[in-house]
């Protein structure tokens, strides 16, 4: 019992918060404005416990395992949820169903925790579903908007289809090896034709969830139609969890097929980088723009994964941490603007610097970090990813990735130019920024600057492996 409590601390914390919220919902005594700070404090406590009290070991015959790296990754995801709950407090306070929304978000997070800890394919599949089904329900939360229900429909259908493909791959793997435990699978997988087919099915399901080109078609529509907190959750927390799991499944379970997935990763990395960047060039809606920019970022992550050693895991974890701060800062600014004025287009941001200089600086810093310009953390994140990718000697891949960084500068700077240099005839109006939003933006900016400059953070992640 003691071991159980110790190892599953993060999951138990989240389940406890979920039950507490459900009970509070029954009482009907609290307004949104009173409930939200309470929820934020609970999530913060969960984050601190996960970060500072890690455990190492496995439960249920290896079905559930945890370690220092997994604990750190869980803490990163919880930090993301905490920042989202602060950044989108304007939208959350107005929401009619705040409790349900938070409960769904935390259940998805719980699914991701189990996903990171899974050591058995049944666990893996169940937690993957737990991590996706609530998100589809969440993206329908703007109940009166047509775009929101369309986004939810696209999300649930494409994710159900992807999990069908995943299951078919898993069933073939079971037929060949007769086991579903990760540890037992490693020794029984070899590069036979049926195994390769099963692996390709599994790989494409992961590609669906990570929105890797050519499986990215749902991404932009779902991001655009969903409410801001859901878009932020999908692009940062969901993506981070799937990326962490992808790395650990590839490195641990499919090591015997290393040559095969090295080639697959290189092909998909190039297509993801190129297509993501080319489509981002022509977007005007800020959510759609950030969707394609996040597809392009996944391309860089794939380049890092090709390393196939500890540097791959470390650089992906570090990059997700950096990406969390930068992307959430960008989403935060966009969400504040959309909340006060209802506008989501880049052309509406013209001349914003004259009226709201601080917001513009935060946005500019976030976009610089996403583009990978030196003083910000995004630069270091990309350097580690490309460095890890280069360790296998595929220099052409690194050259293509670096060229894509240059292309991405164009569209990131387009937003900055619109804010700082262009004039707007009809001003966007005043934007109210509440205290929690300011605090969260400050945290994001601190994260963008400090994760890059403090070199011990990467070293620390490296030591966790």
């Amino acid at each position: 019992m003691g071991i159980f409590l110790n190892y599953m601390k993060p999951e138990l914390m989240i389940s406890l918060i979920i039950f507490l919220l459900l009970i509070l919902k029954l009482g009907k005594g609290m307004t949104n404005a009173a409930l939200l700070p309470f929820i934020q404090v609970l999530i913060l406590i969960g984050f601190l416990i996960t970060l500072f009290l890690p455990a190492e070991g496995s439960l249920f015959h290896g079905m559930y395992r945890t370690g220092r790296l997994i604990g750190f990754q869980k803490a990163v995801l919880l930090l993301g949820v905490y920042l989202i709950s602060l950044l989108c407090s304007g939208w959350l306070k107005k929401s009619e169903h705040l409790t349900e929304f938070i409960v769904l978000m935390l259940s998805a997070l719980l699914g991701m925790f189990f996903l990171l800890s899974s050591g058995h394919l049944v666990m893996f599949f169940l937690s993957l579903e737990l991590a996706t089904i609530p998100v589809a329900a969440m993206s329908n939360f703007d109940l009166d908007k047509k775009a929101s229900s369309e986004a939810a429909m696209k999300m649930i259908l494409s994710s159900a289809f992807a999990s069908g493909i995943l299951l078919f791959g898993i069933s073939l793997i079971y037929g060949i090896t007769g086991t579903l435990y990760f540890d037992a699978l490693v020794s029984r997988i070899e590069a036979g034709p049926l195994q390769v087919m099963a692996f390709v099915f599994l790989f494409s399901a992961f590609a669906f969830k990570l929105s890797v080109v050519p499986f990215h078609l749902w991404t932009a529509d779902v991001y655009e139609g969903s409410p801001f907190p859901v878009t932020a959750f999908l692009s940062v927390v969901s993506k981070g969890a799937v990326a962490f799991t992808f790395v650990s499944v590839l490195y641990r379970v499919f090591q015997p097929l290393g040559e095969l997935w090295h080639i697959l990763l290189m092909i998909t990395a190039v297509s993801t980088l190129v297509i993501g960047n080319l489509f981002a060039l022509r977007q005007d809606n800020i959510k759609r723009f950030l969707a394609f920019s996040s597809i392009a970022q996944v391309g860089f992550i794939l380049v890092g994964i090709t390393a196939n050693d500890a540097s791959g895991t470390a650089s992906v974890t570090y990059f997700i941490l950096v990406y969390l701060f930068s992307n959430l800062a960008a989403f935060g600014v966009a969400s504040v603007i959309a909340d006060s004025t209802g506008r989501e287009n880049i052309s509406d941001y013209r001349g914003l610097y004259a009226s709201h200089p601080m917001l513009c600086w935060v946005m500019a810093l976030a976009l610089f970090s996403l583009a990978g310009i030196p003083p910000t953390a995004g630069f270091f994140g990309k350097v580690f990813l490309l460095g890890a990718g280069a360790s296998r000697g595929q220099l052409w891949l690194i050259v293509i990735a670096a060229l894509n960084m240059v292309i991405s500068l164009y569209y990131y700077l387009r937003v900055v130019r619109a804010m700082f240099m262009e004039k707007q005839l009809s001003p966007i109006g005043t934007i109210t920024q509440e205290l929690p939003v300011r605090f969260a933006l400050l945290l994001c900016v601190a994260g963008i600057l400090l994760t890059g400059l403090l070199s011990w953070i990467y070293e620390y992640i490296r030591l966790l492996i």
């Binding site: 329908n140 109940l143 369309e150 939810a152 999990s163 069908g164 069933s171 007769g178 579903l180």
Partner: protein, 103 residues
């Protein structure tokens, strides 16, 4: 002739691809959902067949089938709720009608 593993695998693979084909060609949301159920059922059949003919000593496949059925029900519940909401706002359950998001 006694039906063996190959017959079952043939049926399940055919079901899988019928499901994929239906999902990609049908434009009615309920039919697309039914295609996904076909895919999931083909997987269940696969698991049970492998369990019976290839790994009679193991139980993992049978257990997995039970979980798939449960998850499929959960997924269908959420999907149908979303489709009902879509019908309220669009007055249709055709995918082509819900085409506001583009670019």
């Amino acid at each position: 002739m006694e039906p063996g593993l190959y017959h079952l695998l043939f049926i399940s693979t055919a079901l899988f691809f019928i499901g994929v084909f239906g999902f990609l060609t049908r434009r009615n949301l309920i039919t697309m959902l039914m295609s996904i159920e076909l895919i999931l059922n083909s997987v269940c059949l696969n698991f049970v067949a492998f369990n019976k003919y290839v790994w009679p000593g193991e139980l993992d496949g049978v257990f997995f089938t039970v979980f798939i059925i449960a998850i499929a029900a959960a997924e269908a519940a959420v999907a149908i709720a979303i489709i009902i909401n879509l019908y309220r706002s669009h007055r249709s359950i055709d995918v082509e009608v819900a085409g506001e998001l583009k670019g």
